[in-house]
Subunit: 206 residues, 2 copies
């Protein structure tokens, strides 16, 4: 069924164009169908519904992002702290720029996470896998030694939840958000307890 996959891809491409020009809500199935030179009804042989097309677009997009993050998680020549830092900053910057420069994409993200809460969970699960890779690698190098890595990854995500949801940012600029994330990472790495206070931590440059 390579032909069917081609058509699915064509539909996704057409929808992507429409969604990013006019927004998800203002794009009709009839328009997407016309762009693909087919009838509206025929779309439903390839996707169960409009939201599923949006989900396909979002899945493709986030998968690319995940691939990038997977590389950051195991970059050689950087210690675990730096890799965790790079990973979480990448996620923050991506979200911030989507919000700022791409309101259409942000609209789609809102719709999907409202209508398909499972999708947001999938994103968290995938990112968590990468965090676990990072922790595994860190253990191999003797940097961190968390007992339960699955649980630890979940807690790192919980502690950085603020940086995933623009609704919680209340007009904070990116530099301020980065300064906060930097602080949270420092706390997560070193903790409040003094023990053997580790060497200095670099400050964010903004």
């Amino acid at each position: 069924m390579a032909e069917k996959d081609n058509i699915r891809e064509q539909i996704v491409q057409a929808a992507k164009k429409r969604f990013s020009h006019f927004g998800y809500a203002k794009t009709t199935m009839a328009e997407v169908a016309t762009d693909c030179a087919m009838s509206p009804g025929n779309l439903y042989r390839f996707y169960p519904g409009k939201l599923d097309i949006a989900e396909a677009i979002a899945t493709e997009d986030y998968s690319k992002h995940l691939e990038h993050m997977r590389k950051l998680a195991v970059t050689p020549g950087k210690d675990a702290r730096q890799r965790l830092h790079d990973l979480l900053f990448e996620e923050l910057r991506r979200t911030y720029h989507k919000l700022e420069k791409d309101p259409r994409a942000y609209e789609m993200a809102l719709v999907i996470s409202r209508e398909r809460p499972e999708f947001a969970n999938w994103m968290l699960r995938e990112e968590r896998k990468i965090l676990i890779e990072l922790l595994d690698e860190a253990e191999r190098r003797g940097e961190f030694t968390p007992e339960d890595k699955e649980f630890t990854a979940e807690m790192v995500q919980a502690a950085t939840m603020k940086f995933r949801y623009p609704q919680l940012w209340s007009k904070l600029t990116l530099p301020k958000l980065e300064r906060e994330l930097e602080g949270v990472i420092q706390l997560l790495i070193n903790g409040l307890c003094p023990k053997a206070r580790a060497g200095h931590q670099r400050e964010v440059a903004a």
Copy 2:
């Protein structure tokens, strides 16, 4: 102007009754005025508007909560970790129960934080003062030694943001939230770095 303050208090009491019985939206200024045996117009000599009455109620309520938390922050016979734990759990439980058992109060909270974002900031600032007290006390006892306590308190709040906003809970039960908060606190206290791994941490009992 003791008389004026009495009337202000009477208005708040009348509004509190109405709001908690019928909700904020379904309560009219005319009704509150009638309850206070005055005309609607006269209310405006005491409060600038309906929202300000709601804010007065919320301020009074949260101030009581703050007082309670202030006690938790300096309870003798508990170490800093336990006090931080008690403080953050108290906040979480309060929010959870407002949401579960008191939809009227939750409605008011939503309206206020939408129309008066400054109020949410005030709450955070006040809670932060308490966190700083806790850190000061911890330093005195040689438990934690954060360099910049104002900043550290801010970061503790950032890391526990998830537990303040029911919108982020997506159907999580209180026990699951408590388990997560427990994990985040552990991470905040001990950090990911091994250094001198501290003694075991208790598990939540639910």
